[in-house]
Symmetry: C2
Subunit: 377 residues, 2 copies
């Protein structure tokens, strides 16, 4: 596994420490695993990180002690790391750590801490008479992660590039009588052969009417002539996610299949062409949605146009309609996200086409490189 | 996919409604996906459920509308289901729903709601002048889920049973020169062939020194003579999880490997034999831990002995040492959990042996059925 070098980690940590200064916080308690990974290279599923002005206090249990020791002996060692052993509960250990450090004002990640944990921490700190105040923060690390650095762009580019042979393997199985499940197995084998460490999400193979269920996975249904087949899959390489969707037909396609497919492809291309620095995420969504509305498919496109891609398969920025809970984000070079409009017609089927794009100085690079043909070669 | 029948769902809902009465709550807002699935059969990754005395208000977005319509036309339809369309944010829709229903006191699941969502809900309800109070609850549905009903036991039994050929396929590859990754691929293919809908967690193949990292996954390391190899995998069948670990050797084993292996196997057997109704989870842990301490391996066993198994691969009850944050649970017939002691020696390797057990009237049934031989056939 390739990890960010120590100098890169130091730069990321500096960004977060500047945010702490601005917010007048002595420490930030980081509980989201991918935020911990971004700042320390520690990739465990458990762990709590306390970022202070001079150290990265990483609380880990027994299971990760040896892995962290090996990390620190590598060129990807985390600068200023101070590991803390957790023998019981993480939150007990967290209070011990904050108490020993004498922290009086600690930020926590409100989108990544449950009410139960928060209430326990506040109640127990008070019972222990710790002079400690917890302050809600949101998106400090996520904002830093939204614009990828060079090492991340290399990883995302390679993760996207390797989907090409995987897609070809899937296309080669699209014929009558083959089951969705068999194609999903072929896709996942091809991802392993391509070197991905794991799938980024559950592989979707949705044929015929199942294509109208945007989150169908892969079942026992066998392909029939005329079926549209939605193939949605991605792999994780060096921690970074890729995500691709293609829709193909079990030839020959009906006139309606060709019409809907052409409309979605046109919408996807319009959104890709809209991407450039300064444009808002909502404008990218608008570009796709307008095309589908023109074709009478506005109602059939019920989800957002895309999502950020990085250490998480769904991260910032969200490419959606204007929504009360999602602030539009002006695009910047280095952002990476998916563009994946679709049209879903209950009882009939669906079409979705998805690529991963990198915002560049003047537009975007499409990182995935797979044929869009409705009838695969 | 086999789902619980409508009558079974009705019984589960009754249990939750009784808890609401006891707590004097008009509604429970359920946000944990596996709790929603347990009460409604809706298996989507998004959704919010509002349980009231007379209805199950299921808030779902576009992606799941068609799937819910199909569910309601099946013998596994959710009784008293009322679907609500979500077009923007789930939490906006939740406030709309609670407002329209005139709910004034709603419980929420504090272990499954983030501080950010909670604060937004409270602030926005207040801004809208809704006469609505949110009250923290924890474990209402999890407590109901801890004791499995007959349909769940059948599903868990079958999910465990099908691991036998998967383990055999893995064992057949344990010889010098084979990579961890290749064995993980074989395991995952065998799981698909066995009919599992997905893996329950990332497959672990940890050989030689990697075995000392309890959460190593599967890398490029190739097996060498004398290596201990920890194989930890599981599949999901009809929504229910299985979880198995075996440790085998690339023959011949060293005397130390035989010694550590025998100690862990003895500890695991002692824990299995301790299981019966009325015994506390901490006593089961104690039975395993005492054996390892006798063999001088107490320090090498740094994690808990097991975890509940059901719709989630890690659920209640936790089988651990006495801990401030985990209350011991007295065992009851129908509980299902893993028993998986291990010993991890940094730089050398590790051993873990894991089965899934069902608590019965007088002891337990071991649901997994795989050879314990250190040298596989």
């Amino acid at each position: 596994m390739t990890l960010a070098g120590s100098a890169k980690l130091a730069a990321r940590q500096t960004t977060v420490r500047r945010a702490l200064e601005t917010l007048k916080l002595e420490a930030l308690v980081v509980t989201a695993p991918s935020n911990i990974r971004y700042l320390t290279n520690h990739g465990g599923s458990a762990g709590v990180l306390v970022v202070t002005g001079d150290a990265m206090h990483l609380l880990i249990d027994f299971r990760y002690r040896e892995a962290v020791r090996m990390l620190q002996a590598s060129p990807s060692a985390c600068p200023s790391l101070r590991p803390w052993d957790v023998s019981g509960s993480y939150d007990e250990a967290l209070l011990d750590c904050l108490g020993q450090l004498g922290v009086s004002t600690a930020g926590f990640e409100s989108p990544h801490l449950t009410v139960a944990r928060h209430d326990w921490l506040v109640r127990t700190a008070s019972a222990r008479k710790l002079p400690l105040v917890f302050r809600s923060t949101g998106g400090i690390v996520e904002t830093a992660r939204m614009v990828k650095d060079d090492a991340e762009i290399d990883a995302l580019r390679e993760a996207a590039r390797r989907l090409t042979p995987v897609a070809q393997a899937a296309f080669s199985m699209v014929r009558p009588g083959v089951s969705e499940r068999a194609v999903a197995a072929r896709i996942e084998n091809a991802m392993r052969d391509a070197g991905y460490e794991r799938t980024a999400f559950d592989t979707i193979v949705a044929s015929g009417p199942n294509g109208a269920l945007p989150h169908h996975r892969a079942g026992d249904r066998k392909f029939e002539t005329g079926d549209l087949v939605v193939l949605d899959f991605g792999g994780v390489l060096d921690g970074y996610c890729s995500d691709l969707t293609r829709t193909v037909v079990v030839a020959p396609p009906s006139a309606e299949a060709q019409r809907v497919f052409a409309a979605v492809r046109e919408a996807q291309q319009a959104a890709i062409e809209a991407v450039r620095p300064g444009i808002a995420t909502t404008d990218v969504d608008r570009a796709a949605r307008r095309v589908l509305e023109t074709h009478g498919l506005g109602e059939a496109f019920g989800h957002g146009t895309g999502h950020g891609l990085g250490l998480d398969v769904h991260e910032e920025p969200r490419v959606t309609r204007p929504r009360a809970d999602v602030a539009p984000v002006p695009l910047e070079p280095g952002m990476v996200f998916t563009i994946e409009p679709g049209a879903y017609l209950p009882g009939w089927g669906g079409v979705r086409i998805e690529d991963d794009v990198l915002v560049t100085e003047h537009g975007c690079d499409v990182l995935t490189s797979v044929s869009y043909a409705l009838i695969p070669d």
